[in-house]
Amino acid sequence: MARAQKKIYKTETGERVHGMMAEFATPADLYHAAEKVRDAGYRHWDVYSPFPVHGMDEAMGNPPTKLPLLVGFMGLSGAGLGYLMQWWMNLDYPMVTQGKPYVAWQQFVPITFEVGVLLTAFTTLVGMLAFNRLPMWHHPLMKKERFLRVSDDRFVICVEARDPKFDPAATRALLEKAGATAIDLVEE
């Protein structure tokens, strides 16, 4: 299927544009601006805030994360592997102690549980980072002084230039109408 040629936007100095970044004063302004950007039909955009603003996923229209599915699968696999490990090792090296049978599920419960928890926690952390494509130590936004203040107390929306609906004039107008206090072009 033939696709329309992707437009490449450049700044006056000839650098590729990563996107357009708008700053908002409060979490409430950010929330309502996000609703407007969502309703305008953008797909490649994101909201940046020093803490997760309540209800922002709905305001952005994000689908629910698939992380719990992955974690649940890996946690159960971990518990299963923990059980199999004990079962096989106790038969591979049978030890006559305490009059206990070599294989009985009761004696395997604690370690089965612990190994399941360990794999769950590990998958949660690694899965969260992988879903977020982290670690990524550099990003075009990090060159912007204004953006670095997000980690303190600023609220930012960035619409990326690769979005098919991106248009320097129209996007700027939308963000201004949504109540942005400052708008910047972000270079790649």
Partner: protein, 524 residues
């Protein structure tokens, strides 16, 4: 050092390096610092002094960026010297053998396992605060969870030392793990000691991951602040050392940046992050309950009178929470006095809440002590009854009666002062009770382990336990390791979860300033 000109302070503050000024708070006879509101219609403020998001960033990052007070270096010198003593004692033990401890034929577990259970118990408060209070939506936890989690990790490090060195031939300690070896030997999975190994290792690793994940956004804040200062002033700022051209902010931007993994506060990231946090809280809750239950199995699955009781798992868990909360307050009450503006974040309300938890868990522990006694009598086992009366409680017959009654006095009697509101809102009183509780919880483990072992079924097996200087110095040394790590934490890491504290400020709500608030959004 030299005196600081007031202009220097103002300049530092403008550079984002200084602390915001101390907030002027009026002392109210009813609400104390303003957080002790009893009106059910009014929400007690979680952060005092009308602090903004920016103030929270400045206060918390200020602890990691500025030099701490004059107390820090002497405190660190003492703590790290004690940590050095522990290292020397452990080396001496490994070179010489466990005979350097006061263990004997009868008492084969004494201070080593007492200290192990003591430290691992203290380690339970961190996960309780981060996980269980998170699931119960107790927003006040955000001011104390980071420090409590850090304390958990450090306590688990101290705890994990003991099982590794008490095995005698420490170079064989790897055999506890199911590692393939040329003898084709596997560990005995039917032993509670191996369950314990898996429980403690899992607990240590999961706590570490939980702690680190919580710090990722705060590392990013520290990174961005350093980067901003470098952007403004590439050649200025304080140097790492007078003879190096390297700037402290370059080191900060690099090290905190490395640890932050490129976190950029994106909502699409926050979505996965919040879900991951919830999953970790959900999985840590059964984990924290399982760990001390399994520790109690070390004792409960034996046939020794005094150990062989079914009440042990809940009794140990309640005791762990009790001892852990006491340690959190033992550390945070002095920190609150020593660091600027910390009283705005850890309010009297926080201390009061934690005192109430101490009172409840203290009574649970007291109930368990009473129930052990009752079952010893009601169960009709003469050996069990003997242990409780003649080994522990009766001053005329039991050689360790003083340990038993110290435990009762510290753990059951001392927290009763918290029935009085004036006591549970007075930091000094709370601190003293916490000190008593910490001592009492150490004695609890000593009573359980040593008094049960020192007189078994036959009088010919009876003997006393006397600690050697190596025993004592090893324990004092692990307190040094714990304190050293905690002081480094206070100096270099984000002591408060900034993103979480900002989230509980009233202006963080997307409906703030909208009057009645809207009906949209799940957080409404």
């Amino acid at each position: 050092m030299t005196t600081i000109h007031p202009d220097q302070l103002a300049a530092a503050r403008l550079m984002g390096m200084g602390q915001p000024p101390e907030s002027a708070r009026a002392w109210d006879p009813v609400t104390g610092d303003g957080s002790l509101v009893d009106d059910p219609g009014a929400r007690a403020p979680l952060v005092l002094g009308g602090r903004s998001f920016h103030d929270v960033t400045n206060i918390v990052c200020g602890y990691a960026e500025n030099k701490p007070g004059k107390w820090w270096v002497p405190a660190f010198a003492v703590a790290s010297s004690l940590a050095g003593v522990a290292t020397v004692m452990i080396l001496y033990l490994i070179i010489t053998g466990v005979g350097t401890w006061g263990l004997n034929n009868q008492v084969g577990w004494a201070w080593d396992i007492t200290n192990f259970v003591f430290w691992i118990g203290i380690g339970h408060a961190g996960t309780l605060i981060s996980a269980i209070l998170c699931l119960l939506k107790q927003k006040w936890r955000t001011s104390i969870n980071r420090a409590a989690e850090a304390m958990t990790i450090f306590a688990v490090i101290c705890a994990a030392t003991y099982p590794g060195i008490h095995v005698g031939r420490a170079w064989f300690a790897w055999m506890m793990f199911p590692l393939p070896n040329s003898n084709a030997i596997w560990p005995n999975f039917r032993s509670p000691l191996l369950w314990d190994l898996f429980a403690v290792s899992t607990y240590g690793l999961v706590s570490l991951m939980f702690w680190y994940m919580g710090m990722i956004p705060d590392f990013a804040t520290l990174r961005d602040r350093a980067a901003l200062r470098l952007m403004k002033n590439p050649s200025g700022g304080q140097r790492v050392a007078p003879f190096l051209s390297l700037r402290a902010d370059q080191v900060r931007a690099f090290v905190y940046g490395l640890l932050a993994l490129g976190w950029r506060f994106s909502q699409r990231h926050w979505q996965n992050y919040e879900k991951a946090y919830l999953i970790l809280a959900g999985i840590s809750t059964p984990l924290v309950l399982s760990v001390h239950s399994i520790v109690s199995f070390d004792f409960a699955t034996s046939v020794l009178p005094g150990w062989h009781t079914t009440i042990f798992p809940p009794y140990f868990v309640a005791g762990a929470i009790f001892g852990g909360f006491a340690m959190v307050m033992l550390l945070m009450i002095p920190a609150r006095e020593l660091f600027a503006n910390m009283k705005d974040l850890i309010t009297l309300r926080h201390l009061e809440n934690m005192s109430k938890i101490l009172l409840v868990t203290g009574m649970m522990v007291g109930f368990a002590y009473a129930m052990e006694f009752f079952i010893a009598w009601y169960g009709g086992n003469p050996y069990e009854w003997w242990v409780f009366i003649n080994n522990r409680a009766n001053p005329a017959k039991a050689p360790y009666w003083w340990a038993y009654w110290t435990m009762i006095l510290c753990n059951v009697v001392s927290p009763q002062v918290f029935w009085v509101k004036a006591c549970r809102t007075n930091p000094l009183v709370i601190w003293l009770v916490c000190l008593a509780v910490t001592v009492g919880m150490w004695f609890e483990r000593f009573v359980i382990i040593v008094t049960s072992l020192h007189r078994a079924y036959l009088p010919g097996e009876w003997g006393m336990f006397y600690p050697t200087p190596v025993d004592i110095l090893t324990f004092v040394g692990t307190i040094g390791i714990f304190t050293t790590l905690f002081l480094l934490f206070l100096r270099f890491l984000p002591v408060f979860a900034m993103s979480e504290i900002k989230n509980v400020l009233p202006e963080a709500s997307p409906h703030h300033g909208h009057g009645s608030g809207g009906g949209h959004g799940r957080g409404a």
